[in-house]
Symmetry: C2
Subunit: 320 residues, 2 copies
């Protein structure tokens, strides 16, 4: 059985025809958003999705088209409540898509599609109760419960980045204070470290970044922490404690068999990762460690397309 | 359709024959545990369950027997990993039960059964994505996801009482530090307030308790806080902030339509409850407030039996 998975990203749309039994990509395409005022309007996006699907699946082999994108959805109505990357509010998007690619078409939150992809084909293949968390530019996640995607009532389940870790703490991009993301996303780590270094903190990370504070990022801070740098070590102690605690809390709450971890910061900062896993295992409800493991993502940036294809195909049996 | 729900509590076993379409209890019975060395052995408990089921359902009208109790289970294998109230470890309990009441018999964690009962018949009737949290002697919860019980891989999903709210904070009964339960359970609130009052803190709560520090509990602290008592107000500020944050985090993580709240402390401390809900709504990921409400439990101490009966009957369609 084949299905199409689509990933509507920040800069382009990608689509793949997927053999859902194996998770193999049979054909794929990538289309950048047109550089015009209406380049990301719902009508333009739906039309580009239609073109992409016709390109990779001219013989209509698909059982359906699953579409993942960064947006908040009203239940399973297909209505987009808000999609900041596209500037949309209250868009009844699914009918536009169905007019292009047929009735078997559904929209999913991007991290939900990614989590489902990793649970079905990737790092947690074969497990029914899975949490997937990405620590990258932002921090987000998705949940697979009883072998099915658990999207939540407005498809915001898994938003671990906006759980609070410090009451009235650092300001987050969402406008609130004390979110995990405000402490652990790549963007916020970089911003904070650069501020503190400009204010007089000293760190080997500056030298590792080529001498300029402007070029300090999570990767060089990690290297500095590994080499015993005091500033980076102290920062990593705080960040890993908060990340480890938030991950422990999601594992305590959800009691999954596998926690799949990915994202640019997670993959590019091995010392932070080592410390965070240690804190997670210390802080998690100890009985929940039975049968539990932390594993890596294995699908890279194809996870969302693969997950969306599996979701629309209802693969494997019983999953939605 | 009828099914039997059983609640194996700390002092007795209760069983009810339930009309699962309506949630009405048709017959019920209560049996105290025998006061003997083997009074709570797996064999004795299974045998008492058998007797209770034969008493309330002599005509075998039941589609099955669902049993809720405070224990950690190994997936859906029916093996009890540990049940502290009964002193059990690694007990293959389901075959003993099935020998007594027939093959259609399953064991559930007590808070999972309660959460399912409240989602199907109680405070969140008709909603598919529900979290239920009890704040009483201890703090625990259960999750209904996509209209089905989400038990987690060892039936410990919903253990919000052991999420960490203060890194390296107060000691919890579980042996760890900083658990929500260490700050907000009735037992821990009482213990802490009595300690602080003995160490010299002064509060109206002592007078409200009849003059003895030994009789201070969450209820009189709540009354004192409402009357403007400084000590109780400060304590409630801390407790409500931590409880509100933990509840906000479970709602941010799970994006439910309804959070069902119950338990002795929650019901007996209206000021704490008012402040905790206010903090929850402030601290939750704001987009997750769309369509979300906090509601009360409505089934009292029958929730577990009703939930276990519905679970074994597979009611309503699609739920497990």
């Amino acid at each position: 059985m084949r299905a199409v998975g689509v990933d509507l990203g920040a800069t382009n749309a990608r689509a793949a025809l997927v053999d859902v039994e194996t998770g193999k990509i049979v054909a794929e395409t990538k289309t950048p958003w047109p550089d015009t005022a209406s380049g990301r309007s719902p009508e333009t996006v739906a039309s580009l999705v239609g073109e992409a699907v016709r390109t990779i699946d001219p013989k209509k082999e698909r059982s359906g088209v699953g579409i993942g994108f960064a947006g908040m959805l009203r239940g399973w109505s297909g209505v987009v409540v808000i999609a900041p990357n596209f500037g949309w509010r209250e868009v009844d998007f699914r009918p536009m898509l169905r007019a292009q690619v047929g009735e078997s078409c559904e929209v999913y939150n991007d991290l939900n599609a990614i989590a489902y992809g990793e649970a079905v084909y990737g790092g947690a293949r074969g497990f029914d109760d899975v949490v997937c968390v990405y620590v990258g530019t932002g921090v987000g996640g998705g949940i697979v419960a009883n072998g099915r995607l658990y999207a939540g009532s407005t498809h915001l389940a898994g938003e671990i980045g906006h759980t609070k870790v410090v009451p009235a703490g650092r300001l987050c991009g969402c406008g609130m204070r004390g979110c995990l993301e405000a402490y652990t996303s790549g963007r916020n780590i970089q911003k904070r470290a650069q501020e503190e270094l400009r204010e007089g903190e000293r760190s080997l990370a500056v030298e590792l970044a080529g001498g300029s504070i402007d070029d300090v990022h999570a990767g060089v801070l990690d290297e500095a922490a590994r080499r015993g740098d005091v500033y980076a070590g102290r920062l990593w102690e705080e960040v890993s404690t908060l990340l480890g605690m938030a991950l422990a809390n999601i594992v305590t709450t959800l009691n999954p068999s596998r926690l799949v971890m990915g994202g640019g910061v997670w993959n590019g900062a091995p010392e932070l990762r080592r410390r965070s896993i240690a804190r997670l295992l210390e802080l998690v409800n100890q009985p929940s460690r039975e049968g539990f493991e932390v594993v890596d993502t294995t699908l890279g940036d194809t996870a969302g397309m693969l997950g969306a294809a599996a979701l629309i195909a209802g693969w494997p049996g019983g999953k939605k």
